[in-house]
């Protein structure tokens, strides 16, 4: 029992991989593989709950830390741990994985490979959230890419080759600079250990490196980090891979892509950029805020301009993640003040909320896509009487995505806007245009799917959402509602971490 409790995070991290390897040995029977994958991905979730309830909110620094020798020659070690910022992300990941598995029950081709890749993906994503070592962070960062590439390229829809290639090239392009900057930090500081680096690298302000003043080198390294993470978030104008990748990916792939992978970028900002580059972040906060506001505005506008339901939801992700970036920018500028704490609370909560609502929306798009084999909004219409339960669920989830007060999204958007208003008044005010169009595109989608004259084609050919699908969406809906009504169960943890960290 102690062995389990002492290495809880490692268990969470590697159970999916082990499960994936065992999966390869199982006989090729569809239902066996599905249930096995569902069960295997539920174990980390249960263990995460154990971590959650044993987590001490008031304790500064990281908890459940584990450290082991890894690359001694490089001064890099296997160092993992959680704090109030990463734990919600771990929870989000381990929660969404079983749901994504459940959503994947409808996949019929090459189930074994599909589930194998998904389980590997989970380890990659969890590793990023858990790593307390830069090199380890990078390794997991890259590990996550590969399964996703294959998931899009193999199980995607018509234009999948283009989309998957764009996805992987874009992200790899960002990673190049990140890798170089990480190596630079490692060489200069003599360690990759994050808690040590927070001290050493952040306080390194004088002297020269490679013939250049330290400040210049740090500014360059800062931008290398920012661009890598900005592509992943994605921040406007690095966002065009996202609509393609989301649109072409299989349903569960989109759920995970929107629900977790985008958070990796934002998490990179929080975990690495802000603590490692406080000065640079402050200097360039205005730029970041401007990009965040542009993401909010253009994300919403572009979403409004779509007739492809899935692409509309994909653009809504850009819109929502813009708020995360805006919050981070505001916090970078006001670090150490109450405004910064509020903005960061909002940003982290928005990450969590967007994980719920975007995954939910993509899943619902998938549900209707499986039944009608089209994503074109103009092909539907008036489906509400045919599928009343689905309609209700869709309206609820869409309202969560829209940020209706009473559901989670509102709380986080309110906090971000509250944190950003005093510092970036103009950007905040302009982002209201985006908030307005959020309403516009959500209503457009609802109207074109549910309302309007019934497209007679679907009468009798559109089964209602089934129990398995309800089981996927129900936890997301419940969480959205709970966070909207009583956010402090989650926010208290985030808030304390933010206050102690920054």
């Amino acid at each position: 029992m102690n062995f389990l409790m002492d290495h809880l995070l490692s268990w969470i991290l590697f159970i999916p991989t082990v499960a994936a390897l065992i999966l390869l040995l199982l006989p090729n029977r569809a239902n066996l593989l599905r249930w096995y994958a569902l069960l295997a991905s539920s174990i980390p979730f249960v263990l995460t709950l154990v971590v959650w309830f044993n987590f001490n909110n008031g304790q500064p620094g990281f908890q459940f830390e584990e450290q082991a020798v890894w690359y001694a020659a490089l001064n890099s070690s296997y160092h993992i741990g959680v704090d109030g910022i990463s734990l919600p992300m771990v929870l989000l990941t381990t929660l969404l994985m079983p749901l994504a598995m459940l959503a994947s029950f409808s996949v019929k081709e090459r189930i074994k490979t599909y589930m194998f890749l998904f389980l590997l993906l989970e380890t990659g994503m969890l590793g990023v959230f858990l790593a307390l070592d830069l090199l380890l962070f990078f390794v997991f960062w890259e590990i996550g890419l590969v399964p996703m590439y294959f998931l899009i390229a193999q199980w995607g829809s018509a234009n999948r080759n283009y989309a998957s290639l764009k996805f992987i090239l874009y992200t790899m392009g960002g990673s190049l600079g990140l890798l170089l900057a990480i190596q630079l930090i490692g060489v200069v500081s003599g360690t990759f250990d994050l808690p040590l680096l927070f001290d050493r690298w952040a306080n390194l302000t004088q002297g020269t490196l490679m013939g250049l003043p330290v400040t210049t080198v740090k500014a360059i390294a800062f931008w290398a980090f920012v661009i890598a993470f900005a592509i992943k978030v994605p921040v406007w104008p690095f966002h065009t891979w996202l609509p393609d990748a989301h649109t072409e990916a299989p349903t569960a792939g989109s759920m995970i892509l929107a629900g977790v992978l985008l958070k990796l970028g934002a998490y990179g900002f929080l975990r690495l950029v802000l603590p490692l580059y406080p000065l640079e972040a402050r200097t360039y906060a205005g730029w970041l805020a401007a990009l965040g506001a542009l993401a909010i505005i253009f994300g919403a506008l572009s979403a409004y301009g779509q007739t492809d339901f899935k692409r509309l939801v994909a653009y809504s992700s850009i819109n929502h993640m813009g708020f995360v970036v805006l919050g981070i920018a505001a916090a970078a500028w006001t670090i150490g003040t109450q405004d910064a704490a509020i903005a960061l609370n909002g940003a982290v909560l928005q990450m969590f909320n967007h994980g719920l609502s975007a995954a939910g929306m993509f899943f619902l798009v998938g549900v209707i896509y499986e039944r009608t084999h089209t994503r074109d909004l103009t092909k539907w219409g008036g489906l509400f009487p045919l599928v009343p339960v689905y309609g209700g669920v869709l309206i609820f989830t869409a309202m969560g995505s829209l940020g209706l007060p009473g559901l989670g999204g509102f709380v986080s958007e309110f906090m971000v806007v509250r944190g950003a208003w005093p510092v970036f008044t103009l950007a905040t005010a302009l982002s209201m245009i985006g908030l307005f169009f959020t309403g516009a595109y959500i209503l457009k989608a609802l109207m074109m799917v549910l309302h309007g004259p019934l497209n007679e084609e679907w009468r009798g050919h559109l089964p209602e959402i089934n129990a398995r699908e309800l089981l996927v969406i129900a936890p997301l809906m419940i969480l959205m509602l709970v966070i909207g009504l009583w956010p402090s169960w989650l926010l208290d943890m985030i808030n304390r971490a933010v206050v102690m960290l920054f």
Binding site: F298, L301, P385, L435
Partner: protein, 720 residues
């Protein structure tokens, strides 16, 4: 149970009813409406208990009852608290909300034809079209609404949001209730989503109010930053805070912080209470079922906008500019909407414009500083306007009955198709008459007279001549179009067969009418000014003292000497308008055009088309916005520019790769390797002789080489 606990519990029964109807009972219509009405009744009971208790308390404004909890952590050891509270303003609002909500719930049962058979061809998403009764030949009767349960679920959610808004003690929970009401309004306007007009109206309503809401959100966060709290007590009840806000510049347009945030919040009101220029959604919202129009778009939700403005009045009043903006928008809207109402033929649209106009009245009252008068009119208006809407619903219902009965194809909402209904629908007629007179401000007996009179005297006493004149003119117009409506609908002879066969509606519909008409008369008596000739002092002007105590600087316009000019004006415009309306419209014959259209066709057309504002918005905002979204943001920026650059880079990479392959790899390397490959077999042929296949020969060679190497090793390394 203490009042504190009760306040928290007050919004919950409707919420529970909503959840239960949606999740469990949606198949059973009777159970659903029982749940909804039961929940509304519970909340009503709680509200009445609270009102009964607090109405008799002294100093409630100074010591409001309530409690808070910590809700959002905001940094080290600081929390954003939310809570409930009841103070005089909340109490009077709660009073009218509880009454109107409960009776509109009851009314809905009849309105949606409960107890009638299923329709022949009714579909979810379209209004019921009637059922054929078998056995009595070909007799058609109204049929029950197909989505009956869903309707009760939605209005229950709405009631929850409204109660939340009223009992909350801070702007944040107010905003939460505010937005949920917006959602309900969207869902209920689009309740018959099969109709394109309803669908479009729903989206229009949501988006137009959202324009106001995003500004309001900015106001909220700005105020939160500046004041460090969002609670009423912390901002509006805190003189020091108000003073700080009033004297700190905001850096925007030369406004003080109080002015800026007040105005931003006020834009929220403009959207929600349908003030110019965001008024366009309310008339279209009449596409929803009539109980919805009555509750959401007359009595409660649109009133919530004014309620917010009254709430933030202490803040707004710190800035002259903000007050001026309010009075201009309010007075202009009051007049503007009244003129449009003159030319509408749809019975509900007239009421919709009159709602806009009356809300403008209240805003104008606030703008001139007549705080109590605004709150007073809010209460009286809620009662009589809910009454009017329910009355109009009853009329439409009766007409629909006639239409079904006769099979005549006429619009049951067009007033020109009515006439003479007083005989067929006496209860509806008398109650509608009471409501109409209250709206027109019929002197002395109706509630509307007292509240309107107070607003006029407030404007007069404050020296706001322009506002006073504008409001007086719009009061005249109000009386005129109200009488036009009453005359066209109820008086004279039936102009169509359907009108002749109209039928009085069931008790579930007429009972609410009677109850509300009681309040449409008596609600005014609590606010008869002391200085009023003869009547003043007969009844204690309780309202004035109760709500007036909310303002830190007590004693306002109405106290400053009651002049007879506004009183006289009120009398003249109300009676004059009513008389003129009767005069012009009492002789309209079947099939005849509106006398107004005959006299002034040009003006009539402009008014009938609402000054072409919808068309203007369509051209100036909606189409450009669509272009920006579809063309600029998506096609030009994303697809064109950004992806263009990316594809350019990818193309460049591809070109470079092709060059190295065609020009370097193929000729240079491939050629060399091929030459090399050709040489290898020849070499092999030469060397194959060495391999004899005899193990012993190999060993001899191996030993020989070992001996040679050993000798050399010894010679060079050991011996040297």
């Amino acid at each position: 149970m203490t009042i504190q606990t009760l306040l928290w519990l007050l919004p919950l029964p409707p919420l529970l009813a909503f959840a239960l109807i949606i999740l469990v009972t949606n198949r059973w219509k009777a159970l659903s409406h029982t749940l909804a009405i039961g929940a509304a009744a519970l909340s009503w009971l709680g509200s009445m208990f609270i009102c009964w208790t607090v109405f008799r308390l002294d100093g409630l404004a100074e010591h409001p009852i309530g409690s808070t909890i910590q809700w959002l952590p905001t940094g080290a050891d600081s929390w954003l608290s939310i809570g409930t509270r009841i103070d005089p303003l909340a109490a009077v609002t709660l009073f009218f909300v509880a009454w109107t909500v409960l009776f509109i719930f009851i009314y809905s049962v009849g309105y949606h034809n409960f107890g009638q058979p299923q329709g022949d061809h009714d579909r979810a998403g379209l209004p019921p079209e009637g059922a054929t009764l078998k056995g009595k030949g070909h007799h058609r009767v109204p049929s029950i609404e197909p989505m009956y349960s869903r309707f009760f679920a939605f209005i229950s959610l709405f009631a929850f949001a409204m109660y939340t808004l009223v009992v909350s003690d801070n702007l944040l929970t107010l905003y939460i209730g505010w937005e949920i009401m917006g959602l309900c309004s969207y869902l209920l306007i689009g309740f018959w989503y099969g109709k394109k007009s309803a669908r479009d109206a729903a989206v229009k309503a949501f988006l137009t109010t959202r324009v106001g809401d995003v500004f309001m959100l900015l106001g909220l966060v700005g105020l939160y930053k500046a004041a460090g709290t969002l609670s009423y007590a912390g901002i509006f009840g805190n003189e020091e805070m108000l003073h700080t806000l009033a004297t700190t510049g905001s850096g925007i347009l030369g406004l003080s912080q109080a002015g800026l945030f007040g105005l931003l919040l006020f834009i929220g009101t403009v959207g929600k209470s349908a003030q110019f220029p965001l008024h366009v959604w309310l008339p279209d919202a009449m596409e929803g079922p009539t109980p919805v129009s009555a509750m959401i778009h007359a009595a409660t939700m649109v009133s919530a906008g004014v309620y917010l403005s009254i709430r933030i009045f202490p803040l707004v009043s710190q800035s002259e500019t903000a007050l001026l903006v309010m009075s201009i928008i309010g007075a202009f809207t009051a007049l503007f909407a009244a003129t449009i109402a003159l030319a509408q033929n749809d019975i509900k649209r007239v009421l919709a414009y009159s709602t806009i106009s009356q809300l403008g009245y209240m805003i104008a009252a606030l703008g001139v500083g007549a705080y109590v008068a605004a709150a007073f009119h809010l209460v009286t208006h809620a009662f009589f306007k809910a009454l009017l809407f329910l009355g109009s619903g009853s009329v439409i219902h009766g007409m629909e009955h006639g239409v079904l009965h006769t099979g005549e194809h006429v619009d049951p909402q067009d007033m020109l198709n009515m006439g003479g209904l007083r005989v067929k629908m006496p209860i509806t007629f008398w109650t509608f008459l009471i409501g109409g007179f209250a709206l027109s401000g019929f002197p002395l007996v109706t509630a509307g007279f007292w509240s309107k009179d107070e607003i006029l005297s407030g404007a007069f006493a404050g020296g706001h001549w322009v506002v006073f004149a504008t409001l007086a003119v719009s009061a005249l117009l109000t009386a005129f179009y109200t009488m036009r409506q009453i005359t066209l609908t109820f008086l004279g002879q039936p102009r169509t067969k359907a009108a002749a066969h109209a039928h009085e509606t069931p008790l579930t519909m007429t009972l609410p009418l009677m109850v509300l008409s009681f309040f449409a008369i008596t609600a005014g008596w609590v606010g008869i000014p002391k200085a009023f000739p003869v009547l003043g002092g007969l009844i204690n002007p309780w309202f004035e003292e109760f709500v007036g105590s909310m303002l830190p600087a007590h004693g306002e316009a109405a106290e400053a000497g009651h002049s007879l000019v506004p009183l006289f004006t009120s009398l003249v415009v109300a009676l004059g308008g009513l008389y003129l309306g009767w005069l012009v419209y009492s002789k309209v014959k079947a099939g005849a055009k509106d006398p107004f259209a005959r006299a002034l066709p040009g003006l009539h057309r402009v008014l009938q088309n609402k000054y072409y504002i919808d068309e203007f918005y369509q051209r100036a905002f909606i189409r450009p916005a669509r272009w920006v979204a579809e063309e600029f943001s998506y096609r030009i920026i994303d697809r064109g520019l950004i992806d263009g650059i990316l594809h350019g880079i990818a193309g460049g990479g591809l070109g470079l790769g092709r060059f190295t392959r065609d020009q370097v790899d193929l000729p240079v390397w491939n050629h060399f390797v091929e030459w090399l490959m050709a040489r290898v077999p020849a070499l092999g042929r030469v060397l194959k002789g060495v391999q004899t296949g005899r193990v012993q020969q190999y060993m001899v060679i191996a030993i020989a080489i070992a001996v040679v190497v050993g000798v050399l090793f010894v010679y060079f390394f050991v011996l040297a």
